[in-house]
Amino acid sequence: MNTLPVQIAFYSLAALTLISAAYVVRARSIIHAGFWLLPCFVGVAGLFATLQAHFFFVAQLLIYAGAILVLILFALMLTRDAMSLHVPLKSHLGIWAGLISAGLGISASLVLARQSWSVTTAHPAGPARQAEALGEALIGLYAVPFEVASLLLLSALIGAVVLAKVERAPAPEPPPLADTLPEPEETRKEPVGVE
């Protein structure tokens, strides 16, 4: 395999991902932060392609750049009044955050870089074989976690519906309607009972 194009792709995708991630954190308006998320997700998808994980390249584009980003933008637009305000940033907290995160980042990078990663000689399998292995593992060794994940998604679906319906529950029961409604029901029921 030719290494130079892969390296160029890696460096440009890494730069795209990191710069747009930095802009997500730095952006003054929330909607800009939301839109900066898109190149970041696309960059990570490209990195997956660099790693020859073809299935996750597509999954990242569909799930993150498609579904999750759209959900976040919807939430931004539903909380429209908050959108116009600039995100306040506490300066004393910012210093602490910088210190903590710098310590975390430096220590993580040191641990990862000092580990001697022996050079892998094995080529990853082709796309078809990789997807095959993934599917076999999903219905074999990982069958139970897979079912638990589907239950989790189902409960999240129901939970999202319940959360969205909470506000509308008190609206359709005004008191005058409640007084007038039972009477016709009783009169209707009586003939049915007689028959």
């Binding site: 395999m1 996750f56 999954a59 999750i68 976040i72 903590i100 710098a102 990789q130």
Partner: protein, 102 residues
């Protein structure tokens, strides 16, 4: 061998995770905090896939599937909570939403 060594991916995902941590710590809007959590989850996915390639094993990719499923569930529920909170309190600044604090 393949073009880019594994540790480059690991250091890159470490930096991406750190950017996410900075965002979670300094931002005051929960939706932006959600975005930064997504950055951190992406960094973790990148680590899993890089190590899965390094050890030529399907486990790394398998965990990414579950991380993506949990992230989707988390976004749906979390954003639902944020929108419900905004409807009832008219603000989502996390310094002003402190009813559970006392």
């Amino acid at each position: 061998m393949l073009g880019v060594p594994t540790e480059y991916f690991l250091v890159l995902s470490g930096i991406l995770f750190t950017i996410g941590v900075i965002g979670v710590l300094i931002k005051r809007n929960p939706i932006v905090i959600f975005m930064c959590i997504e950055l951190m989850l992406n960094a973790v996915n990148l680590t899993f896939i890089a190590l899965g390639r390094h050890f030529v094993h399907v486990n790394g990719q398998m965990y990414v599937i579950f991380v993506m499923a949990v992230a989707a569930a988390e976004v749906a529920i979390g954003l639902g909570i944020i929108v419900a909170l905004f409807r009832s309190k008219e603000t989502i600044n996390i310094d002003e939403v402190n009813l559970m604090k006392y």
